[in-house]
Symmetry: C2
Subunit: 468 residues, 2 copies
Amino acid sequence: MSTSEIPADLAAWCAANDARAQDELFDFLRIPSVSAKSEHQGDCLAAAQFVADALTRIGCTAELVATPGHPIVVGEWRKAGPDAPTLLIYGHYDVQPAEPLELWTSPAFEPTIRDGRIYARGSVDDKGQLYLHIKALEAHLAVRGTLPVNVIVVAEGEEEVGSVNLEHYLERDKARLACDAVVISDSTMFAPGIPSILSSLRGMAYVQIDVRGAQGDLHSGMYGGAVVNPAMALARILATMHDAEGRVAIPGFYDDVLPFPDAVREGMRALPFSDDGLMHEVGVTALGGEPGYTTLERLWTRPTCEVNGLLSGYTGEGAKTVLPAVSMAKVSFRLVRDQDPDTIVRLVAEHVARVAPAGVTATVTAMHGGRPWRADLKGPVIEAGKRALHAAFGREPVITGEGGSIPVVGDFERILGAPVLLMGFGLPGENAHAPDEWIGVENYQLGTRAAAALLDLYAQEFAAAPRP
Amino acid sequence: MSTSEIPADLAAWCAANDARAQDELFDFLRIPSVSAKSEHQGDCLAAAQFVADALTRIGCTAELVATPGHPIVVGEWRKAGPDAPTLLIYGHYDVQPAEPLELWTSPAFEPTIRDGRIYARGSVDDKGQLYLHIKALEAHLAVRGTLPVNVIVVAEGEEEVGSVNLEHYLERDKARLACDAVVISDSTMFAPGIPSILSSLRGMAYVQIDVRGAQGDLHSGMYGGAVVNPAMALARILATMHDAEGRVAIPGFYDDVLPFPDAVREGMRALPFSDDGLMHEVGVTALGGEPGYTTLERLWTRPTCEVNGLLSGYTGEGAKTVLPAVSMAKVSFRLVRDQDPDTIVRLVAEHVARVAPAGVTATVTAMHGGRPWRADLKGPVIEAGKRALHAAFGREPVITGEGGSIPVVGDFERILGAPVLLMGFGLPGENAHAPDEWIGVENYQLGTRAAAALLDLYAQEFAAAPRP
């Protein structure tokens, strides 16, 4: 990868328009488009309209596509010519609820700058990161009157409530949405000044395990020692899910895991990360996990089994001598490529059936699942992303992973058959779902420049790439 | 043990007075002396006064001893002469709350006879079983003008709230309460027509185990796989408490267990009990427990470890991907002679400290404890009890155990140094703490006769026993 710089014309336009781009973002942030709350339905519509207006004002077309929930904004600019690739930019205009309001230093929907940061709900997740792409489009259209690639913008309003209507829309309109690559800015850089390409997301298989014993709670004195205890049975079932060293011990669990390339693992090991820092952050004196992997590898590249909830019997103050009739655990498995959520649920159910003791009935109910995703880290959009980030931030980006799940990323790749570039401008501590959410002013500006450069570089890389 | 019959004079008096004895019990049952509820404080006092009046009316002295809670009734008759033994009769005049009231077929505090049973709150637990002893005293005093033994009656009003003031009273007044034996009728016969002596009660050590990980709940995607999960850690800790066969696996747990005599175990094995019946009763398809013991032995003669409650993380509907900061289990151990609750808590704490994984902190907090009790099943009061039950019911009593805990029994033996005879007249299904509590009319009457015969037989056995 060669060193590059932001094209001078785009850089000059950005410099001249940073203040206005920030003012416009502030207007966007003032709309309390909380998708989870029905009283904000009008605000969500207003935010969708804000995005559509921002697109049409710079020369794109835009429409609001109705869904059973909040509308999807679809913007288009398709005048780059038949040989140019099409890039789909995805983002979301909805935000998390702002509560607890009293913990915000400045009001959640009144954007405020302090210490070089824009504080507001949605500043980084995802209004700021969506809007910088629109400003990047504007830079091209204003300076050059054209874009080097065809562009589709998809901005949904339900990302914070599970993107419940997006997958269906992608399926329904996939001919119109056909594209050569997808870029999403809804993630976090590894550290300040270190541009990052997010290369993997873990998937999820979430189950509830219910263990039933007697038909009602029993007196633990009168029946204890002869009637099998569902709470103890559950503990014993859960304890079989890891071996003594920390590997998941469910037969077949790792069968479909595709190891990460050595180069990616080596890159992760080279990142400036310390276990001590994580221990200090969360307040523990030791970490754990699967042997043979660093902490970042455990978090990003390895599947897990976690108990998310436990409930049985008496849980109030003091002592009650009940032999519970039922017990329940919520258990989730983070998955990596190419584990399949349905297969994992089946393996878990078979395992639980095998280890559950006589005298109780254990059932495994699938709650929800999501496929893992991992970029192939090659091809024009990845190369263009690396160069654009290098140009904006003055250093090569690092490749990161993410332990969480964003099912929509896999949906884009699977339904549209296009590679996805995850190029985020958030920073650690950004409080994406907490009070005092922020995005760095500098990152908003550098993100705009990177997004602008990406369009040029993607056109170049696409043209230079061998045709299939 | 020789066959015997109820002395003819006492039998005749009982036959002539059964109706009145039942009417008086009805008056006693109409007093809603619910010790747990402050609005029934006056009713508890009225019930105490009812007992005192019943004692003075038949020729005993009686007083109400004040406590920080409900008063203790102490009745006395001490004219049997210097060579006669002193028998202490214990019972309680307080009752469980009657709620849920709508599940009673007839009102809880309006005694009603159906199918040969007296239905009312307190009928069997314990007003009926206390009052039959008073009627037995009356039989002697009415027919013969005297008792063959000195008698102390102790009727407390806080048994259903843990006998919170009785132990202190026994300590404080132990000179006055000095006696040669204690008889308590507050238990259940093994089956209809099978008189029973309850020979053992399990003790209790109840702990709460708290496991703490990170300082707050974490996102299971962002941290799962590297930060130790306190819910899974708790499951693994609990799973170490039994071995694969069902024995408690806490080192030292069985060290102080004094095995039951073979004769008692053989007697238990001969009782008409079927595992199928228990499985049907509680609604399970298999039983479990410690290998090498029958179900009754597991319930009555062996210590246990039971999880009474579990709580961690998200326990509502659906799925939440939280890595919990804390988890909690309530765990109780039923103990048998000569296990000591404090020692068991210490062993549990040491075990948990040993097996808890790095990265979490596990603490064990003692909640409450009670000593196990087991009768030696020899001596004058046991022999007299066997003969009295045989006389009343026409067959030898069986020796039973009880899996639950009644700490006061051990208190009497320990503080007063006197053996305790548990001679109960309840029956399985009596609903002692549930709606539609009942005592059999026949058992109330046969219990009165057994209690009357006991006085004669205890005097005989005491006189015949070798002096220490």
